[in-house]
Chain length 484, copies 2
Amino acid sequence: MDFALALDPHSPTPYYQQIYEALRQAILTGRLSARQRLPSTRALATSLGVSRATVTQSYDQLLSEGYLQTVVGSGTYVCDELPEDLLHSPAPEIASISPSPPVSLSAYGRRLVDFADSPTPEPAAQISFRYGRPALDQFPLALWRQLLVRRCRSGNWLDYATDPMGYWPLREAIAAYLSQARAVHCQPDHILITNGTQQALDLATRVLVSAGDAIALEEPSYLSARRVFTSQGAILHPIPVDELGLDVDKLAQTTAPIRLVYVTPSHQFPTGAVLSLPRRLALLAWAQQTGSLIFEDDYDSEYRYAGRPIPALQGLGLGQSVLYVGTFSKVLFPSLRVGYMVLPPALVPLFRRAKWLSDRQVPGLEQAVLADFIVEGHLERHIRRMRSLYDQRRQALVAALTQHFGCRVTVLGENAGLHVMVRFHTKISEAELIARAARVGVGLISASPQYLGQRPGHEFIFSYTELDENAIVTGIQRLATLSF
Amino acid sequence: MDFALALDPHSPTPYYQQIYEALRQAILTGRLSARQRLPSTRALATSLGVSRATVTQSYDQLLSEGYLQTVVGSGTYVCDELPEDLLHSPAPEIASISPSPPVSLSAYGRRLVDFADSPTPEPAAQISFRYGRPALDQFPLALWRQLLVRRCRSGNWLDYATDPMGYWPLREAIAAYLSQARAVHCQPDHILITNGTQQALDLATRVLVSAGDAIALEEPSYLSARRVFTSQGAILHPIPVDELGLDVDKLAQTTAPIRLVYVTPSHQFPTGAVLSLPRRLALLAWAQQTGSLIFEDDYDSEYRYAGRPIPALQGLGLGQSVLYVGTFSKVLFPSLRVGYMVLPPALVPLFRRAKWLSDRQVPGLEQAVLADFIVEGHLERHIRRMRSLYDQRRQALVAALTQHFGCRVTVLGENAGLHVMVRFHTKISEAELIARAARVGVGLISASPQYLGQRPGHEFIFSYTELDENAIVTGIQRLATLSF
């Protein structure tokens, strides 16, 4: 490996002295650490384009001053312990530059300063009902590997994509899937492949919302979406949610001009409510009248256990006014970082540019393998298998909650998705309940952070995807032993 | 696969009528295309939770009206050709909503409207000297496949990363490489894994520069960087470049407070100039005094063919004031979408949040495989092999240019990188030169778009990475046959 040193051919200082100074500085600043081996004098001389004698002269001086030591037959190393006086010798010139003045930040940067560093801390409990992950141990990894290997036979995916919107066969596969399974009104041209829902939220906010503009969102709602909106300076208008989803009448009463309304109509996050058909039609009509756009986050719509499939809001409105967004994080695995947006056709050129400027494209191999996975029917099979597994786990959870808590608990949103919302009817505080659960090894996730305004408390998000039925039942049994 | 239809249990319209209307709409809007097969009545009934007779009644009506046809023993299909009168029948209620008012865009969105859609159109020539890609046919694909397969034995990379900054072993490997080969002053803690240089540019601009703030950049400079800056409303201050790189005295004379200065010190893009040591020190001192930050884009520093390694600017300043950025796009392959930033320590928390909000993390499998690739010495070997290959190609290019054009050409920046800049001394126009070259099957890439201000003209970027020596020599020979 190269060892880079700054030599100045125009300097009056001879090379051996420059090399000596540069190495000494590297040792004093820690770039070369104790006991690290140096390049041989021959290698360094070749690399720097100087004579070997020059390098030897520099090394000799460093050896004599105690910075370096030689190990016979092995090479030259930085000394284990540098003499005290060397460490207190005047620092090299460049290191003595005064510290920088504080860095100026953008408005966006200044908003980030106030954010908590860890967006969703999770309890490290023996049995954690945390949400957001599928059953990763059920992912068909061997199959994925086969598809990777097959795609690696040719390197035709190594180059930049021809279109920042994404790999065409993947967009075709997603369009066919969404049209069929979700009644989304779309063509592959209108699909943008994103790095998951998070990037879809970020791009939509950037392209559509300036600082000071109004965004309406469900209350409670997905915290990570809210963070994107506030980081970009949007003014948030929380709209209440009831058992039929977003209260569209309340939305229509908002006086501020709403640029974007963020909704989760299939399985409201976190309450699990399904937006009723009359409200869907009212929401679409409102958007048409006001020129607002709807961000439809269909984050877990693949999973439905009772009742009929709920077509996407987007399809009802024939694609007008709606940015429809989905992800493979909850169907396949989160570190894949692939999601998609179905865009109103007029917005396609802008989002293409925004994606290109942001990071050019989603990685090539992942898009190719994912396209194969869908086209060859593996996605459909995997969803079917997971639906059946999650259904069993969901039933075990709901049954255990009912058995042990009876009327002291209300379970919401259990017909779809990857979690239920649980309200405990108790007088002890939410914090106390979480603490007691932790003492018996059960991790509870409060829904409170998802509220922008007043938090009702005692609401918890219970995901059943990562735990098997035994763990679920044991977890609920342990909760039942707590007196609350 | 599910077939989603909107049924309203509270509607006075009976289900069979609702299903009929929904399917008819699906056909008329193209969601169901001609000759597409419908689900069986049994499957649709199960999926919708209605009786089979209900679905049969809906299908029968559509069959009788000519929307559907049955193929005995095969199923029910959308008709090949819909009767003319059906196509002109009144559109379903929902489709008759008036078209939306024009969408409001953010300030960022409005700036994107003016951007050309295709950022870097490239000539589709038989011999194209286009830049930006390594020799993709030389990438060790079989080795990459082996590393993928090995990582697929365990699924420990499937979940979300614990740190949005990136996979720790990859950050360690990059820190060790940069410290050794580029004299970058860094710890793994200060490294952010990005989706390539493009995302590094985007994130840095977002966090540090508000609309109306000043960014200084080399003139000429990398067009894609400039696009990121202008898309976010920055005011650009182009600073001239000469054979010693950026003219730091001119930079220091700028009266506007510069938030960020974008530089390519190792191999100025596109001129190939190397920023001299005195100018490096002056630039660092200027940044320290003014509180400006330096964006050091070290995009092709792995390749150096003559002279000594040029240490990174960042290391000279001990990491103060510099955001050091590199990419694997030009060393491995572009669709990998992996690059890195070395951040001043104080900025780490902000960039961690910005990355998390933008797209959470770089995909897990790619980071793991890349870490293995570096740690096991493959990166070093690949760079060494490519350096030797590119050196031959570079020599062939420079020799052919000299042989055929002599003093009618000036070749710049030939000691490093993946391209040279070529100035033709001719009186015919640049456009005419490009057109004549195209007629003999040679694609020339003008450097003009990289200039913000006056374009000198007749400057071309010649990359030698994708062409073998024969193609290079043939290309230059063909150019020599043109009378200019």
